[in-house]
């Protein structure tokens, strides 16, 4: 039977006997080319962030006022900003802050959202109603305003800004995890485990968490995208990364007025943000399809 390379698209998911969950994930993920490209791009950005000192042509903070707003040239590949700092170097170092910010924010969201969501979904009862109430209340207040208020209270710096964004995103993770936990809780094998005397906590860790993992991983990927965007918004209002360091959001904020005369100053961080967020979203979709539900063959 000839195996013609199948077109991508709505393929019927096939369960090959004897295939481990991980192997099946990789077999499917390899076929999601867009997701692979996105993953590749993110790895490149992460490496650039880690090895910034080696890659960046110049010191991102070093100023030369005579080169203020220098146009892209062999010396300044992407031109220089108002203080004569090399845009490319700042972009590479900026990756550090933007990714670090995203990671911090998502970490806060996970620490806050996941355990509470798991407990609420699994334990139900008063805890669930109270936790859901708080989550709904936080979700009822627009993200940007809440973040601004929290940063206002904690004081403007990168970590506080990311804590704020983490708090704002936590209810979303809470609801995803709670939803998954509730659906798993209904499964018969949970009753079977409980019937055989397995403790609630072990059930939660053993059965509920693995099943919650796949929707959670997808949400985390989307959360990272959200965090990069949120960091840009907060930094744009001057409440994020403190000078002289700069994240992409800060670079964007500082260059807004020069959009007409020096578009590259806005373009560089703008494209970086859009591509990174796009990569996170595409990766999220890819993960979603690869981790998705297995359709038993008819």
């Amino acid at each position: 039977m000839s195996i013609v390379d199948a077109p991508i698209g709505a393929t019927a998911a096939v369960v090959l006997p004897g295939e481990s969950r991980r192997a099946r994930f990789w077999r499917r993920f390899k076929r999601q080319r867009a997701a692979m490209v996105a993953a590749g791009f993110l790895i490149v950005v992460a490496l650039a962030a880690i090895f910034a000192p080696l890659i960046a042509p110049k010191d991102p903070i070093e100023q030369s006022l005579s080169d203020s707003f220098a146009n892209p040239s062999s010396d300044y590949w992407l031109g220089a900003d108002r203080l004569g700092r090399d845009t490319l170097s700042r972009l590479i170092y900026g990756a550090r802050y933007s990714l670090l910010a995203a990671a911090q924010a998502v970490a806060v969201a996970v620490v806050l959202g996941v355990p509470l969501g798991l407990l609420a979904g699994f334990a139900r009862g008063w805890f669930d109603s109270v936790a859901s109430l708080v989550a709904d209340a936080v979700l009822s207040i627009p993200a940007i305003i809440l973040a601004l208020a929290i940063v206002g209270v904690l004081g403007p710096n990168l970590t506080n800004a990311m804590i704020a964004i983490g708090i704002v995103y936590a209810p979303r993770l809470f609801r995803v995890v709670r939803g998954a936990a509730i659906s798993v809780r209904e499964e018969t094998y949970i009753d079977a485990a409980r019937a055989s005397g397995v403790g609630t906590l072990r059930i939660a860790r053993g059965h509920v968490l693995p099943n919650v993992m796949s929707p959670l991983i997808v949400q985390i990927s989307l959360a990272l995208g959200f965090a990069v965007l949120a960091e840009a918004a907060v930094s744009f209002l001057g409440l994020g990364v403190q000078p002289p360091d700069a994240s992409w959001g800060v670079m964007l904020g500082q260059a807004t007025a020069q959009l007409e005369d020096h578009p590259v100053l806005v373009l560089a961080p703008g494209i970086a943000i859009v591509l990174t967020v796009l990569a996170f979203n595409v990766l999220g979709d890819g993960l979603n399809d690869s981790l998705g539900r297995e359709i038993r063959e008819a």
Binding site: A10, I141, P142, A143, V153, L278, N281
Partner: protein
């Protein structure tokens, strides 16, 4: 249906209370003391303390909250410490502007998002689907304040097809009102439509594999009926939820868009309030928006009854 709505409304009361606590509590902790603003740079410590007590800021938190909530229920959200103008009037003056902007943005988002999502979902795997999917991913990825500025600069100023700034009330001239709101609404609708399209696509894909859609096809119904009636109506539940979420998201983003397009809505006043530390205005706005979003969520829940008769009977 009514019982469902009543039960849902009952659940709303504690939620609103919590929103008000967050709105009041969080914002009253924001540093930067309004009393110093009013007293001026030459005031002495005592004078600042005196102004603070006039504003009632020296009372314990709970008392301030109780007082504020009591008034809020009667529609009085306090006064801005600087201009002495009541917050409620400020919001009331600016509400129609923001509602027009959000109305436009939501309409555009829905009119673009749902059809795009339906086509992408119905023709899953086709080129159209992949283009639309990638388009929505990009749409979601572009920061709103970037698209807003580009629209303002390129379409507004350079091409001057549409006004780059300002707002004209509907009563004054509906045409100008629409023209002034178009660009900011598009800037907002870009991400709004993308989000709705993604959800509609997922909904359509899930529903189109249902047995009853196969039955409809097997009965030889036209695509218009199979897709338009049978599939769409059942796919709408998740979509309506997302549209509900969009309203809260669009308001948050409109704060920046109103600023860029200089539209005198609740949002642009919020930016100046944050910078002026006009806490009563911020608290009033956050409370009002919270109530509006809770109301939207209730409406969304109740709408499930329309889409799913089984819920209606519950």
């Amino acid at each position: 249906m009514l019982r469902l709505a009543a039960r849902r409304l009952l659940k709303v009361v504690p939620l609103l209370l919590l929103v008000s606590v967050i709105a009041f509590g969080l914002l009253s902790m924001v540093p930067g003391d309004p009393a110093v603003q009013i007293a001026g740079e030459f005031a002495t410590e005592e004078q600042i303390a005196e102004v603070r007590s006039d504003l009632g800021l020296d009372r314990p938190w709970i008392v301030q909250y109780g007082d504020w909530l009591g008034n809020a229920i009667q529609g009085d959200l306090g006064t801005s410490p600087f201009s002495g103008v009541s917050v409620s009037t400020q919001i009331w003056q600016r509400l129609p502007t923001t509602l027009s902007l959000l109305g436009w943005a939501l309409a555009l988002s829905v009119l673009i998002g749902i059809p795009a999502g339906t086509i992408a979902g119905w023709r899953q795997g086709s080129v159209v689907d992949r283009v639309l999917t990638m388009g929505t991913s990009v749409g979601v990825a572009i920061p709103v304040f970037v698209s807003a500025l580009v629209l303002a600069l390129v379409v507004g100023l350079k091409l001057s097809w549409l006004p780059a700034t300002g707002y004209v009330g509907f009563s004054e001239s509906p045409v100008d009102w629409a023209r002034h709101l178009f660009l900011p609404a598009v800037a907002l609708a870009l991400t709004g439509a993308a989000e709705i399209a993604r959800q509609t696509r997922a909904g359509i894909i899930q529903v189109k594999n249902e047995d009853y859609v196969r039955t409809a096809k097997a009965s030889g119904l036209m695509t218009r009926q199979v897709l338009g009636r049978h599939t769409l109506k059942n796919a709408m539940i998740p979509v309506v939820t997302v549209v509900g979420l969009q309203i809260s998201r669009l308001f948050g983003l409109s704060v920046l868009v109103e600023q860029i397009f200089n539209i005198p809505g609740i949002g642009s006043r919020l930016v100046t309030a944050v910078f002026e530390n006009d806490v009563p205005y911020i608290q009033g706005t956050v409370l009002l928006v919270g109530i509006a979003i809770v109301a939207v969520n209730v409406a969304v829940d109740v709408s499930y009854g329309y889409f799913n008769p089984r819920v209606r009977a519950a």
